[in-house]
């Protein structure tokens, strides 16, 4: 039986099953048209003239600052999302919280509503004409048209990522380990940090990296809240949008390709990390 099994595997290795030709072609054509072709066009347009387009694009006042703002805010948002997303997932899975079903649905809301709507919501809530915005203004805190507003918009948009990657892992986790720790006298904080969290690390990392990738590219929620002041609240995606508005497509493509490259690295790292942890378990 075992030998027959290996024999079959060896046969598979020698002659991998390519699948029916029509299905194979359809898949390749679809993925090619939807993903590979646009990416190729982007890279070609951005770097047809070598690094000139990129250099031109970055020479603009506020361009470097826009990239910096985009990457730092994405990093902070990913970290905040990792902490609170994990906490939300733990509470949702392990405690019989009243209104749990409602909360679970609310978590998914950012996936469903248009990101522009998110921006409008935040401006309505924190704008200078709202009571909350006016009160915060008197304390010297400004949300709208500042990096704080950008961070809040990104936190909103990326909230589901960590929660949704961590929840299934938590649901699969045998509560007996946590019970064993409780009987041994451990406090809830110790149980979470020393017993639960080590199992969640791959999922938290994956969720945070996805949130990071998403934050780099977020346009709709940011464009309304940020005010897009060059050198202050102008993010890279909004800058790209401005470049296209001025018909400077080569420069837009060069900056876009840069963002694409970073996103690609993040996705590859995520997949690699998840696979590695998956093997170790």
């Amino acid at each position: 039986m075992a030998q027959a099994d290996t024999g079959y595997r060896a046969a598979q290795l020698r002659r991998p099953d390519l699948g029916p030709p029509l299905r194979r072609l359809t898949v390749l054509a679809y993925v090619g048209a939807m993903i590979v072709l646009p990416v190729a066009a982007l890279v070609h347009e951005g770097f047809a003239a070598g690094l000139t387009s990129l250099r031109n694009a970055l020479a603009y006042p506020g361009a470097i600052a826009a990239l910096e703002l985009t990457f730092t805010s994405a990093a902070i948002v990913a970290a905040v999302g990792a902490v609170f997303g994990t906490l939300v997932a733990w509470v949702l899975v392990r405690y019989r919280l009243p209104g749990r079903a409602v909360l679970a649905t609310l978590i998914d809301l950012p996936f469903a509503i248009p990101t522009l709507v998110t921006g409008v919501m935040l401006v309505t809530l924190y704008g200078p004409s709202s009571p909350l915005g006016a009160w915060l203004d008197r304390l010297g805190i400004q949300v709208v048209f500042t990096p704080i507003g950008i961070g809040m918009a990104l936190c909103f948009v990326t909230l589901p990522f960590v929660v949704r990657t961590v929840m299934p892992v938590l649901q699969d986790l045998d509560p007996a380990e946590e019970e064993a720790a409780r009987v041994l006298g451990a406090s809830p904080a110790r149980i979470f940090l020393q017993v639960v969290l080590p199992h969640l690390r791959p999922a938290v990392t994956a969720g945070a990296l996805l949130a990071f990738a998403r934050s780099i590219g977020e346009f709709g929620a940011v464009v309304v809240v940020a005010g897009n002041i060059a050198g202050h609240t102008l993010t890279a995606p909004v800058y790209i949008f401005q470049l296209t508005g001025q018909f400077r497509f080569a420069e837009a493509a060069a900056v876009s390709a840069l963002l694409f490259l970073v996103s690609l690295c993040v996705i590859l790292t995520t997949n690699h990390a998840v696979a590695r942890w998956g093997n170790r378990r």
Partner: protein
């Protein structure tokens, strides 16, 4: 002997399902008490209530004289061993065992010393730096036991500790646990569905069925003087004979079996007889005998199993030492003495067949 654990009227419901109903018993200090019953009988829930992992809907729990019904888990100072080990998978054996000591803020030097003691006690010295997934089932369960014992708990609670192990390892660990208990003397409560395990390890057995206590007693009591038909059927194998009551006896065919004193004449009654309590002889020796024909004789080493046909409908199983097999061969006629039967009025738990061993 004082009671380390006292339960009074414990009831626990899950929705409309009553898992545990009005359970009361005491577990004497320094001994092993077994909670024995089929799966779903509520025994694990009782154990979890004692540990504080579940809260009873009614009733009270005392641990060493302190009421702990609603006491927080982390203050009860009990050790708990789970059926599937529940080891911390990302910690080495040493860190698993040290966990409870660390929580209890035991200084590092003492902690290391205690862990070493337990590694020696559980014969795990060479495995201190391994992770649980590199251990066999038996080794994992020993780590779980060492982890539970490290903070010197007042009670050791074992939830089907050998349930996930194969038969040979189970027997080894059982013998080893008995020795360990003689050495440490920690009050232990063992949940099991395996009557052999309960009879071998425990000094006191609480038999549970459908959330209720059927009988509390010594292994000898529970085995030889079952209080209910359920206990007679569950603890050890038993032949079951249904008959009618006549002046304090159960009539089965021509045989009259004593023991139905409380029951009214003419009412139905059931006699339970263990296979090794059936006495076979070539001639009728007492009024409690029935004639039968030997169907088969199966030698099983220390005993031989004899199938006996009473009539077209009914067979009994007897177990005899091979020295008593003279004159007993397939086809021979014998008389079966039923006088060692336990008699009950029919009720819950009565079945018409030989109950499983």
């Amino acid at each position: 002997m004082s009671s380390a654990i006292r339960l009074e009227g414990i009831t626990r419901r899950f929705g409309s399902f009553t898992a545990v109903e009005d359970v009361s018993f005491e577990a004497p200090s320094g001994s092993i008490t077994a909670l024995l019953g089929p799966s779903g009988s509520g025994k694990s829930t009782v154990l979890r209530i004692i540990a504080g992992l579940e809260v009873p809907d009614a009733g009270r729990v005392w641990i060493e004289g302190e009421e702990q019904t609603h006491g927080p888990v982390e203050h009860r100072r009990v050790g708990f061993v789970f059926q599937h080990y529940a080891l911390f998978r990302h910690m080495t054996v040493r860190r698993n065992i040290a966990f409870g000591l660390k929580v209890g803020k035991v200084p590092k030097a003492q902690r290391d010393q205690r862990v070493d003691e337990l590694l020696a006690l559980t014969q795990l010295e060479g495995l201190a730096d391994r992770y649980p997934d590199r251990l066999s089932g038996g080794q994992r369960q020993r780590v779980a036991l060492a982890r539970a014992l490290a903070p010197r708990p007042r009670l050791l609670l074992l939830d089907e500790p050998f349930g996930a192990l194969d038969a040979r390892v189970r027997q080894e660990l059982r013998t080893w646990l008995a020795e360990l208990h003689r050495e440490l003397g920690v009050t232990s409560l063992l949940v099991t569905h395996d009557q052999e395990e309960a009879l071998e390890l425990a000094q006191r057995i609480v038999v549970m069925n459908e959330g209720r206590v059927e009988q509390v007693g010594s292994p000898a009591d529970v085995y030889s003087r079952p209080a209910t038909p359920f206990v007679a059927g569950f603890v050890g194998a038993a032949n079951v004979l249904s008959g009618t009551v006549i002046s304090g006896h159960v009539q089965y065919g021509d045989a009259l079996v004593a023991g139905a004193d409380g029951l009214a004449d003419g009412s139905p009654a059931v006699a339970y007889v263990r296979p090794h309590d059936l006495v076979l002889s070539p001639v009728q020796r007492s009024g409690a005998s029935v004639p039968a024909q030997v169907e088969s004789v199966t030698p099983l080493g220390a005993v031989a199993r004899v199938r006996l046909r009473l009539d077209a409908m009914k067979t009994l199983t007897a177990e005899l030492p091979p020295s008593q097999l003279d004159g007993i061969a397939p086809g021979s006629r014998v008389y079966i003495d039923l006088s060692r039967a336990s008699v009950f009025a029919p009720g819950d738990g009565v079945s018409d067949e030989l109950s499983p061993a």
